[in-house]
Assembly symmetry: C2
Homo-oligomer: 302 residues x 2
């Protein structure tokens, strides 16, 4: 099954890159093939300065080795041989109304037979557009509900907690779903979980290309661009201070340019910026807290 899973992730990367290039219309992915010091390797694909995408990275990797003491301790397992494969992507757009998005789907296997799936997808609008958030969360809930009615509430909450900057007391965006250490149990088979992970992976391209098309022509001014550059600072703070994937990768002597492709092209740090009350900037910040996006949809419809 390991081969099948790896094959799916490789194809997923191909499909996503093709869909993004087509929708962008101008940008092309540049590919770097790399090998990991302890075994395996990956394909890093970066698109810079497209028509819609300013900087986007879609990584596939399949690596193996022996868990370091650090890693084993963090995972609460013995330092045995491992195999890890997955796709990880982050897209930053030119237009401040096109949200930043991140997705990661991964499979981890130890030589003692233990395995698990993990992953997540979360949306980071520079300006929150409630319709996009509702479409995003409704789409994710539909996928989750197909497998287990407990998935969406559980994984949505996990994302709310994970994509959070304690020092800012705010989420980096409007969340999504996050899951880890998912393996077969009395209620589900390995194939079933793999199907779920595939549905999550396959959700990305149609959702995001639709969003690109919806928002890429929204007119914006320098004020919007300034706010986007400031919002990106929070994205960098999250990734470098808290993101486990980033810190794990750097710690594990991964290829730093592949890991840090998640950082935006241009970023700004102001000092103590606070938006004026009742502005679209203040509106966005008020949405960077856990929200019930499914019922928000009903509230907005009324």
């Amino acid at each position: 099954m390991k081969t099948e899973i790896q094959k799916y992730f490789e194809t997923l990367q191909d499909n996503i890159c093709r869909a993004l290039e087509k929708t962008d219309g101008k940008g092309k992915f540049h590919q770097d093939i790399w090998t990991h010091h302890s075994g395996g390797g990956g394909r890093t694909r970066i698109l810079m300065h497209g028509d819609v995408i300013e900087k986007g990275g879609v990584n596939f990797s399949a690596t193996s080795g022996i868990l370091s003491q650090n890693m084993a301790q963090r995972m609460n397992v013995e330092p045995v041989g491992y195999f890890a494969t997955g796709v990880s992507l982050v897209i930053h757009a030119n237009n401040p109304f096109v949200p930043t998005i991140h997705m990661n789907v991964r499979y981890f296997e130890l030589e003692n037979g233990k395995y698990w799936f993990g992953g997540g997808i979360d949306l980071t609008p520079m300006y929150v557009i409630p319709e996009d958030g509702i479409r995003f969360h409704t789409g994710l809930k539909t996928i989750c509900d197909k497998y287990n009615p407990e998935y969406y509430p559980k994984y949505k909450k996990w994302a709310d907690e994970y994509f959070y900057l304690p020092h800012r007391k705010e989420m980096r965006g409007i969340g999504g779903i996050f899951f880890d250490y998912v393996a077969e149990d009395e209620q589900t088979t390995k194939q079933n979980i793999f199907d779920f992970v595939q549905d999550v992976g396959d959700f990305f391209a149609p959702f995001y290309t639709e969003t690109m098309n919806l928002r890429k022509n929204t007119p914006y001014t320098q004020k919007h661009k300034d706010f986007q550059l400031w919002r990106r600072g929070r994205y960098v703070e999250f990734n470098l201070i808290y993101d486990r994937g980033t810190l794990f990768g750097l710690d594990n002597q991964g290829r730093s340019e592949s890991i840090l492709m998640s950082l935006p092209y241009e970023v700004r740090w102001l000092y103590d910026y606070q938006p004026e009350p009742d502005t679209e900037e203040a509106f966005t910040l008020s949405y960077l807290q856990p929200k019930d996006w499914i019922n928000l949809s009903q509230t907005l419809k009324q």
Copy 2:
């Protein structure tokens, strides 16, 4: 002595801000007074968009409280009451030939009577100019040698190891000195160490204002500006991933805007940028490794 030390740090902040404003000629420090949740507080002073300084912060603080379990563990002491005071500064300039600089001088005291001084000063040129590095290290060595011939080699090495990005295999700049947990012993008194810390604190303003004056009118092109923005990305990576002061401050629920004032205004992340061989950019990168700056001076003179 605690009061005297705190008073010195307050005056140091005043003197530094006055000297920087005078040399900048345009920028003025904006002050925010804040209180810490567990006791004490500070004065954060920020200068934005000056003639020479793009973004600079000079913080004074004197806080007290009970050490958290985390902090106590890290310091290898019991979780007792503490008092901490110091000055911390980071200056980022407009002109890519004016280096970024950081200094921190601090005093820590536990209610059980234990105390120590710590601090450091390091230079991060966007473009390495050997003369500036030599002047910087020679000045620091002169101060160190006044107190103990072992200080400079020891504290210089500590800075080389501390201001290092393992995932980039490079230093964030050209080092300087770094010291911590310095207290009286058979060879030195508390007053002696305090004198040393004052000499380090007093070194900053004359050194940096001279450097500002020397380099502020160096002509530069877009290529130099681009390289500066890219170099700043490494500064951000260091501060958010490795800098103990930053992580300690955020972890201890410090005022995040005061802690993160160290981040530059504008920053860029490219993908896998490598300078061409034999360019001034490649020259700079070759200097981001531990160097013997004192003997470098003799090498360059020959």
